[in-house]
């Protein structure tokens, strides 16, 4: 079935981009839960192969890191409404409590300050809304890998 691209919302496009994605997002099975200019939420299905502590069957912190970094990247592109050339500069995460085994993890991210070259984001990962398992702040650089776009000065 053909879809008229004009009928797609930005969120639809981001969801399709994630669904058709390669690499780590695909390997983790990330999906787009919701997406607006203000806030993007990704979902990570619980998987045994992502466990970091086999005794307690708790997800590895690195999985949460990747989920949050992805959510921040998608939140920034959704905020800008373009496939911007972005790169993470800095990511700080507090791991508040272990993820409960056998339950999906959601991560929501939002841009709270945007300058011409830097975006500041907040994110949190949770299994139950309002009870975060991790809180994060991140800074992203815009135009990171395309020096030819950085010629507009002054």
């Amino acid at each position: 079935m053909d879809v008229d691209p004009k009928s797609l919302t930005w969120g639809d496009k981001m969801g399709m981009m994630l669904a058709s994605g390669e690499g780590q997002s695909k390997a983790l099975g990330l999906s787009l839960e919701s997406c607006t200019r203000e806030r993007t939420v990704l979902r990570l299905p619980w998987q045994e192969k992502l466990v970091g502590d086999p005794t307690a069957r708790v997800l590895h912190g690195g999985v949460i890191t990747t989920l949050i970094d992805s959510a921040c990247g998608f939140a920034l592109m959704s905020h800008l409404e373009k496939l911007a050339d972005i790169a993470t500069l800095d990511l700080r995460i507090d791991y508040l409590q272990p993820a409960v085994p056998d339950q999906d993890v959601l991560a929501g991210a939002e841009v709270y300050k945007l300058t011409s070259s830097i975006a500041f984001l907040r994110a949190s990962a949770y299994q139950t809304d309002g009870d975060p398992i991790a809180n994060a702040v991140a800074t992203f650089m815009l135009g990171a890998n395309a020096p030819k776009y950085q010629t507009k000065r002054g």
Binding site: Q24, V63, T66, D69
Partner: protein, 149 residues
Amino acid sequence: MTATLVDAVRAARETGDYQTVLESIPYMKFLGLVVEADEKGPICRMPGSDHIIGNPVLPAIHGGVVGALLESTAIMHIMWSRESLHVPKIINLTVEYLRSARVVDTYAQAVITKQGRRIANMRVEAWQADREKPVAAAHAHFLLPREDA
């Protein structure tokens, strides 16, 4: 499951081979990590592969995966230095992304900046072809497991 990790650590104490410890931790195995140690501690190597890519255009390794390598290396360092039977719990992590990480072998090694009875403060660096040009660095705090061995 429990016996596997504990058995692997007990065996590693004898042999000095921590790869079996690493492979009893599912996510580290999922990333394809390989651990070797020098006198300063474990060096974890993450082979470049399609499934760790974050930016397919460059291409570059996913920033979160680089963070995961740094965290995993810190965990292996604590288990190596304390001969711990349990995985230390991460409290917080700050990752600084210094260079784009190309999809090739990436290495990481940790140092314990300060170790108390309950908390370890760690510094970890990741590099690719040139150790003098790290692609990322991290500071992290871990809650040390209470040993019951």
